[in-house]
């Protein structure tokens, strides 16, 4: 008897659960109320455990509470996640102390480690910031992995085929990468608004297409293929030449740490996007579209136009991440160049509840895991343990609000039945 077609969009993050703490006694949504009896009086009690629960949840809701509270909650759940991950490591016979020590040493143990961590965090953060934009606009583009790949391709064309000075090459490469990523994402948006194809599906499938495209371009007679320059055995592998030294991303020396340029860019992007979403007129419109497309329509927001723009923007950021990978980490295009950074970046944005500031913290954590994980192998600990810890962190960050929401729903159901 539920209204047919009243499905919720996919990938709803928990804070968007359409529950209503105050109006919990509203029976107009209960399934048997077709014959519209007048709803009971509303309002009144805004205290009690239900409201407390709502408040607790509200503190996790993106943008609902001051940043300090969000950071505190983040740190709490982060340590919880690391703890769980270490316990899991211990259960499989590895000393938690050694694991933790290696992770620490490899990420923030020295200034060199810090540089590694920031290098790893930069593309993750760029992807996450883009994902925040489109998720806030209610467009569930999940194809960042493909858009990263396209960004790497775009940057590759500039790096290997444009003859310019270093800085110019780097600027052009980022621009080319952003354009390529945006264009790839826009395909999914066009499919959605033109043909009604679910953007979750199309953006996902475009990931695999992007991989094929990359492989074609770096193999055989592809324009990005490495001809080998006469080196023995060269010219056969599916890979590009190495990035010339002039196009390698420089670092900036800050407080004894060589901070990679890509990370500075990503950080600036995160701050700008957070400000844009909170204060700019266009940012408001974006959020309105994401929160309630029906209302957006009545105030003159065109979902196809603004939605496509948001998707393209997220693609552009993912593309820029591709450039950062090529010129800052891999220095070469090969079939796995995106190395799941698109997926991880998306995960960061979702686990951060589409909050740009929290995304920065989470990107650093992910970066630390990547950098620190590199040391584990030396002590005979499988690097996979890092993935387990990362997963535990994500679960710890996502679980509490989900659990709270579930408890709250149960309470509501009880109070309606009573």
């Amino acid at each position: 008897m539920n209204t047919p077609g009243a499905s919720s969009p996919p990938l709803r993050s928990p804070e968007q659960a359409p529950e209503d703490p105050v109006l919990s006694t509203d029976v107009s949504e209960s399934p048997v109320q077709e014959d519209a009896t007048p709803p009971p009086p509303r309002g009144g009690a805004r205290r009690g455990p239900d409201a407390a629960m709502g408040g607790l949840l509200g503190s996790l809701r993106s943008g609902a509470r001051p940043a300090t509270e969000q950071v505190l909650a983040f740190l709490t759940f982060l340590s919880l996640g690391i703890g769980v991950g270490l316990v899991l490591g211990w259960a499989t016979g590895h000393d938690p102390g050694v694991i933790l020590g290696n992770l620490f040493e490899g990420s923030i143990g020295s200034s060199i480690s810090l540089g590694y961590m920031l290098t790893a965090a930069a593309p993750l953060l760029l992807v996450a910031v883009g994902a925040v934009i489109c998720m806030r606009a209610g467009q569930f583009n999940i194809g960042q992995e493909g858009q990263v790949t396209l960004g790497a391709i775009g940057a590759g064309f500039v790096v290997f085929h444009v003859d310019a000075s270093g800085p110019v090459t780097i600027v052009l490469a980022f621009a080319g990468a952003a354009l390529a990523g945006a264009g790839w994402a826009l395909l999914a948006a066009l499919l959605k608004f033109g043909r009604g194809v679910d953007i979750v599906v199309s953006s996902l499938l475009l990931v695999f297409l992007a991989e094929q495209l990359l492989t074609a371009l770096i193999s055989g007679d592809g324009p990005l293929h490495d001809d080998g320059d006469g080196v023995l055995g060269g010219g056969t592998a599916s890979q590009s030449p190495r990035v010339p030294e002039k196009a390698m991303l420089p670092t900036i020396h800050i407080l004894g740490v060589d901070v990679p340029l890509a990370f500075v860019l990503a950080l600036v992007a995160a701050v700008l996007v957070a400000w844009f979403l909170a204060s700019a007129h266009a940012g408001y419109r974006l959020r309105i579209l994401g929160q309630n497309p029906a209302v957006a329509g009545t105030i003159g927001i065109s979902a196809p136009r603004l939605g496509s723009l948001a998707v393209a923007a997220s693609g552009a950021f993912a593309g820029a991440a591709g450039a950062a990978i090529l010129m800052g980490q891999s220095f070469q295009l090969n079939p796995g160049v995106s190395s799941s950074i698109g997926w991880s970046g998306l995960l960061i944005a979702l686990a951060a509840r589409t909050n740009a500031a929290v995304s920065v913290l989470l990107a650093l954590v992910f970066g630390a895991m990547v950098a620190g994980g590199g040391l584990l192998g030396g002590d005979g600990i499988p690097v996979d343990i890092v993935n387990v810890i990362t997963a535990a962190i994500v679960v710890a960050l996502l679980c509490p609000p989900v659990l709270l929401a579930a408890v709250r729903r149960r309470r509501i159901r009880r109070s309606v039945e009573a």
């Binding site: 009896t37 700019a280 007129h281």
Partner: protein, 518 residues
């Protein structure tokens, strides 16, 4: 012979409000029994109890003389009671026979199911192609699929909820032919829920009229004047204009003077150019008729009420004026200017403000603050160089909260935390503060308490007095009668007729609402 169905003393409350109170309902074997009533009369609740979807607090159900305890729809089906709901429960991506199988039991046997479908459609003249994809079928064909699904079980009691609401005249006629065959040949009894008076008169052997959760009369429609049926359905307790004025404490003089001509309104009805003019608006939504050549005009300072049984296009009229429904035919003009309806924000730019029926989903944004919600429509004027000024936004919000007496602790409070009445006020404040030429309110008082209702009504009168053309879409006839200068009755997507308030009486309204031209 024992009646096919007897429901005795059925009582059911929802949150303390009686949906059915001490209802006695009886259907004879082999008859088509009409069940008439407005929204909220208790028809659906009664039938949901019969189908086992709702448990009554009191009362007994007897089927063919046997007491029956119907705990869920499966029990109902086993006892031979089936229902075709107003909204079909078909899966569009499956074929007809697959949909039929889904509602049955046991093993999936395609050939047997197809044979059964063909046999039933042959016997009752229900043309259905078992292999067709349900999503490709018209609404009428989908209904036939639902009917076939029910009839395969050879039910002894079939309930149809507003079956003709979505059908063409031709389709309705063949449905009734089929129903007659069903009762004559198979001795099945049919309960026909409808508010279409002509239909009940034409098909039903007997009819029960419900109002406010009680049975108000039992009639033989063929021998009862339609006007009397209408009166039973609407009731006699509609407030007259004078009573209304007294009841709400308004100065009776201008209200009483209204029919005579220009009272407190700047432009008297009749002489001025209408502010809003809808001509021949026709639209479909997902294959069903939404609006059907609807004509409506409102002048400045006038309150026009749109009455009608729910589901007759009210929501589409409201969507049209919110700019979210595009027309296949016809046009909407505001101050003589054609509005490109269907484009986002088109009607708002033309000066139409809408307080939508479902404020939670289409009126406001629950996860944004009260201030944001109040500023929603005017963000541009609050921004400079593309940046929204928080100071301006706040001062606007504070002003509106003060002016509209919205109970909030802070304008930064999330919209979600407000009561329904206050949410409604926020939406109203936003729409009215934009200085609209036309103000549309759809079911504005639904779910509000008495005080909030009185306040809202007062604001609507003030808006009209200030020269706004007000359109009130409501299924609450009392509200319509209290506020409207003119009442337009909507029926199946068109305006069935218009009445000045002075000439509106329950009988005329009832006839129009039942699809009969007054």
């Amino acid at each position: 012979m024992a009646p096919a169905l007897r429901m005795a003393g059925i009582t059911k409350h929802f949150n303390g409000v009686p949906a059915c109170f001490d209802v006695d309902f009886e259907v004879a074997p082999g008859e088509i029994h009409g069940l008439l009533g407005q929204n909220g009369a208790g028809k659906s609740t009664l039938m949901n109890i019969l189908l086992g979807l709702v448990r009554p607090e009191r009362g007994e159900v007897t089927l063919a003389g046997e007491p029956a305890v119907i705990r869920d729809p499966n029990v109902a089906r086993a006892l031979g009671v089936r229902m075709v709901h107003q909204h079909y429960s078909l899966i569009p991506t499956l074929s007809v026979w697959e949909n039929v199988v889904l509602s049955g039991e046991g093993r999936v046997d395609r050939d047997r199911t197809i044979a059964q479908i063909e046999e039933v459609s042959e016997r009752f003249g229900l043309e259905v192609s078992p292999r067709a994809m349900v999503g490709d079928l018209s609404v009428g064909e989908q209904q036939r699929v639902e009917l076939v699904t029910c009839l395969i079980d050879r039910p002894r009691l079939l309930v149809l909820d507003e079956p003709t609401a979505v059908l063409t005249r031709q389709e309705s006629r063949s449905l009734f032919t089929m129903l007659r065959r069903l009762v004559d040949q198979d001795g099945c009894s049919v309960v026909l829920i409808s508010h279409n008076l002509a239909e009940i008169t034409a098909v039903a052997h007997r009819a029960t009229v419900m109002r406010g959760g009680r049975v108000v009369s039992r009639v033989i429609p063929a021998e009862t004047p339609v006007a009397e049926l209408a009166r039973h359905m609407i009731g006699r307790d509609l407030p007259g204009t004078a009573d209304v004025a007294a009841a709400i404490g308004a100065d009776p003089a201008p209200v009483a003077a209204e029919p005579a001509g220009p009272a407190p309104v700047p432009a008297g009805p009749g002489d001025a150019e209408p502010v809003l003019r809808i001509v021949g608006a026709t639209a479909t939504h997902e294959g069903t008729r939404a609006l059907d050549a609807l004509d409506l005009e409102i002048r400045a300072g006038e309150i026009v009420g749109v009455a009608g049984v729910e589901g007759n296009g009210q929501q589409w009229l409201s969507a049209l004026l919110a700019g979210s429904l595009s027309l296949q035919d016809g046009e909407v003009r505001v101050h003589g200017q054609r509005v490109p309806v269907g484009r986002p924000g088109s009607t708002r730019r033309a000066g139409v403000g809408v307080v939508p029926e479902d404020r939670k989903t289409s009126g406001c944004i629950l996860d944004m603050s009260v201030a944001d919600n109040l500023a929603l429509a005017g963000l541009k004027s609050l921004s400079r160089a593309g940046v929204v000024s928080r100071r301006k936004l706040h001062s606007l919000a504070e002003r509106l909260v003060e002016e509209f007496d919205i109970a909030v602790a802070s304008v930064d409070q999330p919209m979600r935390s407000l009561s329904g009445g206050n949410q409604q006020k926020v939406v109203l404040a936003r729409e009215m503060s934009a200085g609209p030429a036309v103000l549309v309110l759809a079911q504005p008082t639904r779910g509000l308490d008495v005080g909030a209702v009185a306040d809202l009504h007062e604001r609507m009168r003030q808006a009209a007095a200030a020269g706004v053309a007000v359109l009130l879409i409501s299924s609450d006839l009392n509200e319509i009668m209290q506020l409207s200068d003119r009442i337009a009755v909507i029926y199946r997507g068109r305006i069935q007729g218009e009445l000045a308030r002075a000439e509106a009486d329950p009988e005329k309204l009832g006839l129009l609402m039942g699809g009969v031209s007054a």
